[in-house]
């Protein structure tokens, strides 16, 4: 019986495993191969990449932008998720539904929508001019700020959902316990709820971070001159059929992403430890 059960459960994993190997592992290895075999072994792509300021500069900008987007998403999503998780079950579903609605729209359309909102003759400027706050349109579109706004709006639902599902795991009696033991509401949140929900928040932030690292349409549409992402460079090289070089950029992006994820995880662990053991509230 037990053995049979075991067999069934591993068997259920096979399709997923197969998909992972066939559509993720093998292509990734192939990209790795393409970056160093062109057609025989060469390090020229990496040499070129690391020898030029442009690529590392863009990598740094991509990382910085992604970290900031993930941070903003985490900070905004946290109170929203907390609010939802405190609602009765039926209301929770309703609020999650609201959160999900934007996900049904393509990133491209949402990016264009932001152009309409933020533009020179867009909604916000029309309002500002109409109300007499300004005579000249304020420059909002084609700035790094616009990239943050658009990307946060696009990625926020993902952060909320991850954060929310982590919060539902927390026994709300713990908050009661904290209160009766002497904690004011904010102390209960800071010393009990926050440390327990931080893992989920960090997971969400990491997902948002990784998605941001691969973004290119939105920054290209609403961003300024300097909002160039690593993915833009990859796309350009692919169009030029420079497979090897495109692969090398991808590998650098992949390594950069993985390193950043490791660092974020480390930092969050330290942060949680601080919050738990940390001083007297």
């Amino acid at each position: 019986m037990n053995a049979k059960k075991k067999f069934t459960s591993t068997w259920l994993l096979w399709p997923a495993l197969f998909m992972l190997v066939a559509f993720f592992l093998i292509p990734t290895l192939d990209i790795l191969r393409a970056s160093v075999y062109d057609p025989e072994f060469t390090t020229k792509h990496f040499a070129k990449l690391l020898g030029s300021n442009v690529y590392l500069d863009v990598l740094w900008r991509t990382i910085r932008l992604s970290v900031i987007v993930a941070l903003i998403c985490a900070v905004i999503a946290y109170p929203i998720s907390y609010f939802i998780v405190q609602r009765p079950r039926k209301q929770q579903i309703f609020f999650l539904f609201l959160v999900f609605i934007p996900l049904w729209m393509s990133v491209l359309i949402r990016s264009y929508a932001w152009m309409v909102v933020l533009g020179r003759e867009g909604m916000i400027n029309a309002l500002l001019i109409g109300l007499g706050f300004t005579d000249e349109p304020v420059k909002m579109l084609f700035t790094t700020g616009a990239v943050y706004v658009a990307m946060v709006q696009i990625l926020l639902p993902i952060q909320i959902v991850t954060c929310y599902s982590a919060m539902t795991e927390i026994d709300l009696d713990l908050m009661r316990a904290a209160r009766i033991l002497g904690a004011k509401p904010w102390q209960a949140i800071r010393r009990v709820f926050l440390p327990l929900s931080l893992d989920g928040t960090v997971t969400g932030a990491i997902i948002v971070f990784m998605l941001s690292m691969g973004f290119f349409i939105t920054p290209a549409l609403v961003g300024g001159r300097k909002d160039i992402m690593m993915a833009n460079l990859i796309e350009f090289q692919v169009q030029q059929l420079n497979w090897g070089f495109a692969a090398a950029i991808s590998i650098v992006l992949l390594i950069g992403t993985v390193l950043c994820v490791i660092i974020i995880k480390r930092l969050s662990k330290i942060l949680i430890r601080r919050l738990v053991g940390g001083g007297h509230a």
Partner: protein, 356 residues
């Protein structure tokens, strides 16, 4: 004996007849696969080109809407020996790439253009220029200072006399040429100048002047139209065909042909196709049928050089055509070779320059 011979002859004739009709049937079932633009271009082409082509030759056309990354696809096909396309559209910048990688069949001009009527610069070894589009300056006429008219790249650079937000495309191609034109380099010398280190520096130096006045650096044609129609920018280079979208939605805009970059599109035959004969036939049809092409440009502004194309064309319409002699004269021909050669290095410098 004679009887026997007669019988034999009968059988032979019958066999021939049957075989012949089978051949005919086979001919009628001939089909070539053509990889071309999807969307409106595909829709119009079906009506204007493919239908009439099948009528004329009996060969059907199976259209595969081309994706953005079709060169990588082609390369994969040729390498694997499994060539699914018989003819395809090739952009001017893709053409040299395909040639370099040996992805095309050589064109047999004795079949395509036996009377040598096509302009010499449309007859390439591995492809025939069948249409042109231009990267031209588009101006919002309602945003121009009273009584002024923008006529050149020098005007585009002149932010004193022509104030207002501007955009450029976010790639080095065309922009460096525009910068040199604005700096006074004659059109015929652009690529000679660009090929030198000083010339390149000169182009970037000129771009430095305009850089602070560029609102955004667009990445897709649709975006450039959006920018102009939303009033985000007043002056912006874009594809000549995009003017129609603007004008038809009531946006007062016009093309400055002077200094436009003309890009030819080629039709080519993937190496290793099984239908070389039919594909060549289609290339001839697509490049030299003036009446078809005239009809085509009533729908889409991508004319070619079919002999006699402008005979009897509405002069107003002819004036919007990049290959109309008066327009072609003031434009320069974008050098796909130059860019194929230098794109890598220049684009890197371009990106670095953008980030400064």
């Amino acid at each position: 004996m004679t009887k026997l011979l007669k019988q034999f002859a009968k059988v032979a004739v019958a066999t021939l007849v049957v075989a012949g009709s089978a051949n005919l049937a086979l001919a009628a079932d001939k089909e070539i696969t053509f990889s071309g633009s999807g969307g409106v271009v595909g829709k119009v082409s079906k009506e204007v080109w493919w239908g009439p082509y099948t009528e004329a030759t009996g060969t059907k056309i199976n259209h595969v809407a081309a994706e953005a990354k079709r060169m990588p696809q082609l390369e994969a096909m040729v390498k694997s020996g499994n060539v699914l396309w018989d003819a395809m559209e090739v952009s001017a910048s893709d053409y040299p790439l395909g040639v370099k990688k040996g992805l095309f069949e050589a064109i047999d001009y004795s079949l395509v253009d036996p009377d040598n009527q096509l302009p010499a610069d449309t007859r390439e070894e591995f492809g025939v220029a069948y249409a042109a589009y231009s990267q031209v300056l588009i101006v919002r006429t309602d945003k121009l200072p009273d009584g002024k008219k923008m006529e050149s790249w020098a005007d585009f650079w002149d932010v004193e006399n022509f104030p207002g937000p501007r955009a450029l495309r976010g790639r080095a191609e065309d922009n460096l040429e525009f910068a040199l034109l604005a700096d006074g380099v004659p059109a015929e010398d652009i690529y000679k100048v660009l090929s030198t280190e000083e010339g390149l520096d000169r182009a970037f130096a000129k771009l430095d002047e305009i850089k602070p006045h560029i609102t955004t650096w667009w990445t897709s044609g649709a975006q450039s139209v959006q920018l102009l129609s939303d009033g985000e920018v007043y002056f912006c280079p874009s594809y000549n065909g995009r003017i129609t979208t603007l004008v038809s939605s009531g946006i007062p805009a016009e093309i400055v042909w002077n200094g436009g970059a003309m890009h030819k599109s080629y039709i080519a035959i993937p190496k290793g196709t099984e239908h070389l004969k039919e594909a060549t036939e289609y290339v001839k049809f697509r490049t030299t049928s003036a009446d078809r092409m005239r009809e085509y440009v009533t729908h889409l502004p991508y004319p070619g050089w079919a002999p006699g194309l402008f005979d009897g064309m509405d002069p107003k319409m002819a004036a919007n055509m990049p290959t109309f002699p008066a327009n072609q004269k003031v434009q320069f021909s974008a050098s796909a070779e130059f860019w194929a050669e230098n794109l890598d290095a220049i684009q890197e410098r371009w990106t670095e320059w953008l980030l400064q």
